[in-house]
Amino acid sequence: MKFVDEFRDPEVIGRTADEIRRLAHPGRHYRLMEVCGGHTHAIYRFGLKDVLPSNIELIHGPGCPVCVLPMGRIDDGLALAQRPDVIFTAFGDMMRVPGAHGSPLEHKARGLDVRIVYSPSDAIKLARTNPGRHVVFFAIGFETTAPSTALTLLRARAEGLKNFSVFCNHVTIIPAIRAILDSPDMRLDGFIGPGHVSTVIGCRPYEWIARDERKPIVVSGFEPLDLLQSIVMLLRQLEAGRAEVENQYTRVVPWEGNRAALRAMAEVFSLRPYFEWRGLGFISQSALRIRDEFAQWDAERVFSVAGVRVTDPKAAQCGEVLKGVLKPVQCKLFGRECTPEHPVGALMVSSEGSCAAYYNYEHRKANAPMPSLAAPV
């Protein structure tokens, strides 16, 4: 296995890989979904596919917050940036994501006041130091990030900050998993559960997956050994006919999650009746809305937001890739019109997007010049 000496316990990695080969029945094809984009990135980076037997297929899930945001929300956010009084702030991950009229970075190049922040705290700091302007924070992310936005809004209220608001695009992971399980063209045997989302929500919210859907799920860490151990745990459950929630990442993920974070989220957010996801369509109760008590810090209520709906570029198949129905390389644009340097779809932008991960680690490797073949015989 590549890079193996950089890893923790290389011998254990070898033994774990042997265990996977022993547990995987040759006559059976296993389809396991890693929900989290960080896991997708790790799987490609570590070349795990080369270690696993060919009948274990890893399907990339919807857990990349940048990737699942429909283009219309980016345009709605950027419409706010057009206002001369607004300083538009977003995480760096968002800056190159294409909207219908260009990415936030391209809007910045056209002279709009678009700034990268690394923390929502920095957005309220900008509001404090620019009292004559209004700072909009474009919030994205699953439950890993939503508590930080919630605490930021609590701090803004405590200070009585008047020139700050959040354009909230926070989504929740459980309804997305449900939508995937309900999708008729998807057959899965089990899930590798997200690591850092679970530090917040804990393991209980996954119990229905085991109980009602009879699918095992193992919350996993991000190192190669973590991922391989999680696959062993899934295979053992499948072998024994069990379907349970297990926690491989106990060193970071408490079973009950982070209660303070959950309280902050509950105080500031309620569930939207429905929200549109790229590729998955409208999913009920799948996203967070800022509660009425915080309306004066909700950009959607401070300003009028059009609620733009934009269809993705026709040839791009981001939706199918996002659902795990197509592999990145099966999209017509992959590696041609759509590359990390010139992304057409969001999955090619974020390092957690499956297209960018596949391109950076598989496509570049496969397309590297091979001198022995290039030379005339």
Partner: protein, 87 residues
């Protein structure tokens, strides 16, 4: 975005609960409000995400996490994030 950065708390600020953390030699303030049920002390290690400490970890886990970031090629981006924190 869902990867977290390990840091060691070197100073506490009371209200709101903030802490100065050190991540491979770089010191920045982070918000400790999400750990208020079990407040960390100076010398403790935490995982940081978008400027907020989200869980307490051991020193060993902090080393593991830093190595994970390094082998994922995300260590530079992580340090850019830490250096980028303004508060």
């Amino acid at each position: 975005m869902c990867l977290a950065i390990p840091g060691k708390i070197v100073e506490l600020v009371a209200d709101p609960p903030l802490g100065v953390v050190e991540v491979t030699g770089v010191r920045r303030r982070v918000d400790l409000g999400l750990l208020q049920d079990d407040p960390p002390q100076v010398g403790d290690w935490v995982l940081i995400h978008v400027g907020f400490a989200m869980s307490r970890i051991s020193e060993r886990e902090a080393e593991d996490q830093m190595r994970t970031l390094r082998i994922l090629g995300e260590d530079q981006a992580a340090m850019d994030e830490v250096r980028g924190y303004q508060s």
